[in-house]
């Protein structure tokens, strides 16, 4: 069992000033599976995701306590090399944020951070990651255009490709399809299903159908607490907690 867990979250508490955003979170995130964090808006899903790659450092008002252990290392310990650590994780946010450069450079920038500078290799890998994100065929002739000219759905796939280009082990996705049209959403979901063989994926969503379609494991959160967690069958077909039943039944969201 030990081996199959990629991320262990232990007694994680997050405070914003006097309000507590996350309360005693304990989650095991398995390797090479899609773990969906489910819950209504404002329940702390996004904050939880930001703890995982310590983007919480950017918000001085947030105080984080507890442990997040990835491959035996507590990443919340101050001495960890935060920049290396973030490269183990690709991030896909609610709406795409391409870097202010060309399409090509969005990927090659990530490669450079990884230390890959050889031009031929960069070239090969840019193509590889764009293919992996199902984007290559659409934009192969537009690589030198600014990334801002792509459609939102294409931008999001570019961000996925860029996230993959740092060669992470984990993909963190924060409602990555919420700003997208149905077709782009489907492409992203399909990419995730393909990618889970090589990556551990943590997906935050409030879309029940999406969770049911692609999740292996589900964590249900409500107002800063983890209410229930388990495999997708356990949580969806046989929820134990009253709140989970209500949420799945559509009583509140």
């Amino acid at each position: 069992m030990e081996n199959s867990t990629k991320i262990e979250i232990r007694d994680l508490n997050v405070y914003a000033g006097k309000t507590q955003i996350l309360r005693n979170i304990n989650i095991d995130i398995p390797r090479n599976k899609i773990t969906v964090i489910l819950g209504p808006s404002g329940c702390g899903k996004t904050t939880l995701l930001k703890c995982l790659n310590r983007l919480t450092d950017l918000y001085p008002e947030l105080k984080v306590t507890g442990q997040i252990v990835i491959d035996g290392k507590n990443i919340l310990a101050a001495r960890e090399d935060i920049y290396k650590l973030r490269q183990q994780m690709g991030l896909l946010s609610q709406r795409p944020y391409p870097l202010p450069m060309t399409i090509y450079n969005n990927i090659s920038y990530a490669l450079k951070l990884r230390g890959i500078k050889n031009r031929r290799e960069v070239h090969k890998l840019v193509m590889h990651y764009l293919q992996q994100a199902n984007l290559w065929d659409e934009i192969r002739d537009r690589l030198r255009e600014p990334a801002s000219r792509l459609s939102i759905g294409q931008q999001q796939r570019l961000c996925l490709a860029r996230g993959l280009a740092v060669n992470p082990e984990i993909i963190l996705a924060d409602e990555p399809t919420s700003a997208l049209d149905p077709i782009s959403s489907q492409v992203i979901e399909e990419s995730f299903l393909k990618l889970k063989n090589d990556y551990s994926i943590v997906l935050v969503t409030h879309v029940l159908r999406q969770a049911r379609r692609i999740a292996d494991n589900v964590v249900f959160m409500y107002l800063g607490d983890v209410i229930e967690q388990g495999t997708v069958q356990e949580v969806f077909e046989n929820p134990k907690m009253e709140k989970t039943k209500l949420y799945l039944g559509g009583t509140f969201n």
Binding site: N53, L58, P60, R86, M89, P98, P100, A110, P146, L172
Partner: protein, 285 residues
């Protein structure tokens, strides 16, 4: 809407329209009077010659000394202020992100020194010169004007860098970029057109100010001749010519003002051109 609300709406709308057109009319009048008086006096000789003997009595010569003096002074000060100012603005927005109170204090202090009249900078520069036993010179002028435009440069770049969305920063951090990468690759690229505007604004202030250079840069009828020699500047040239009792010389003051205005116009257009070229990679959110 009730009738009272409608009247109120009409009244304020009218007020805004009047204010807008009034200001526009005043600006147009200023530019018109500069052109009207300046065009008559301006000549090729004025742009290409230095003052000859008797220039200030209406005889031949020009203001090339002041044009070149002002350009070199403003250019030097703008470059220096940019080289110092950009790192400060980046430091505030990238490195101090966890220290909001420190940022607030620094911003407040910068806003405070922004408001200090340029004559005070002139006096300060003058006392520095005495301390270092410098005479009035291009160097002393550049240093004083740099101090004077630094708050403007820093705060206007700062305001632009502040608008870089947190999501973009998160995206860049999540790739493993360190803070200098974020500062120079992400912030500056995303804000390039605003940074150019900040440079332009500072250049305009630098070239147009008379008080800061009055004691520090001095004045000369010769062309700029090295950092340690005094230089002429357009604002002072306008001042001297306008104080002359000879009407032709007074008209030349307007011609000089016209030259100053045109320089600023050309610099604006040029910077906008550059800004547009880099603007296309900016991400609009």
């Amino acid at each position: 809407m009730t009738r009272a609300q409608k009247t109120e709406e009409k009244f304020f709308k009218l007020l805004m329209i009047i204010a807008t057109y009034f200001i526009f009319a005043v600006l147009a009048l200023i530019i018109y009077s500069i052109f009207e008086k300046g065009i008559k006096a301006i000549s090729w000789a004025m742009l290409t010659q230095i003052p000859q003997g008797g220039y200030y009595y209406g005889k031949e010569g020009g203001i090339l000394n002041a044009i070149l003096g002002s350009l070199s002074l403003a250019f030097g000060a703008t470059v220096l202020a940019f080289v110092i100012g950009l790192p400060v603005a980046l430091y505030l927005n990238v490195f101090l992100i966890r220290h909001k109170k420190v940022i607030d204090v620094i911003r407040f202090l910068l806003d405070l020194v922004w408001g200090i009249p340029s004559i005070v900078y002139g006096a300060f520069g003058f006392s520095l010169m005495i301390f270092f036993r410098l005479q009035t010179s291009l160097l002393a002028g550049i240093l004083t004007v740099t101090l004077f435009i630094l708050p403007i440069m820093i705060r206007s770049m700062d305001e632009i860098l502040r608008t870089v969305p947190i999501g973009l920063q998160e995206a860049a951090y999540s790739l493993g970029s360190n803070k200098s990468e974020i500062a120079f690759k992400i912030f500056t690229r995303q804000s390039i057109s605003g940074i150019i505007t900040a440079i332009l604004l500072s250049f305009g202030r630098a070239i147009g100010d008379a008080a800061a250079v009055l004691f520090t840069a001095g004045y000369t009828d010769h062309l700029p001749n090295g950092l340690l020699e005094p230089v002429a500047t357009l604002p002072l040239s306008i001042f001297f010519q306008l104080s002359s009792p000879v009407p032709e010389v007074q008209n030349r003051a307007y011609a000089s003002a016209l030259v100053l205005t045109l320089i600023i116009l050309i610099v604006s257009l040029f910077s906008r051109g550059i800004g547009k070229r880099y603007h296309k990679t900016k991400i609009n959110f």
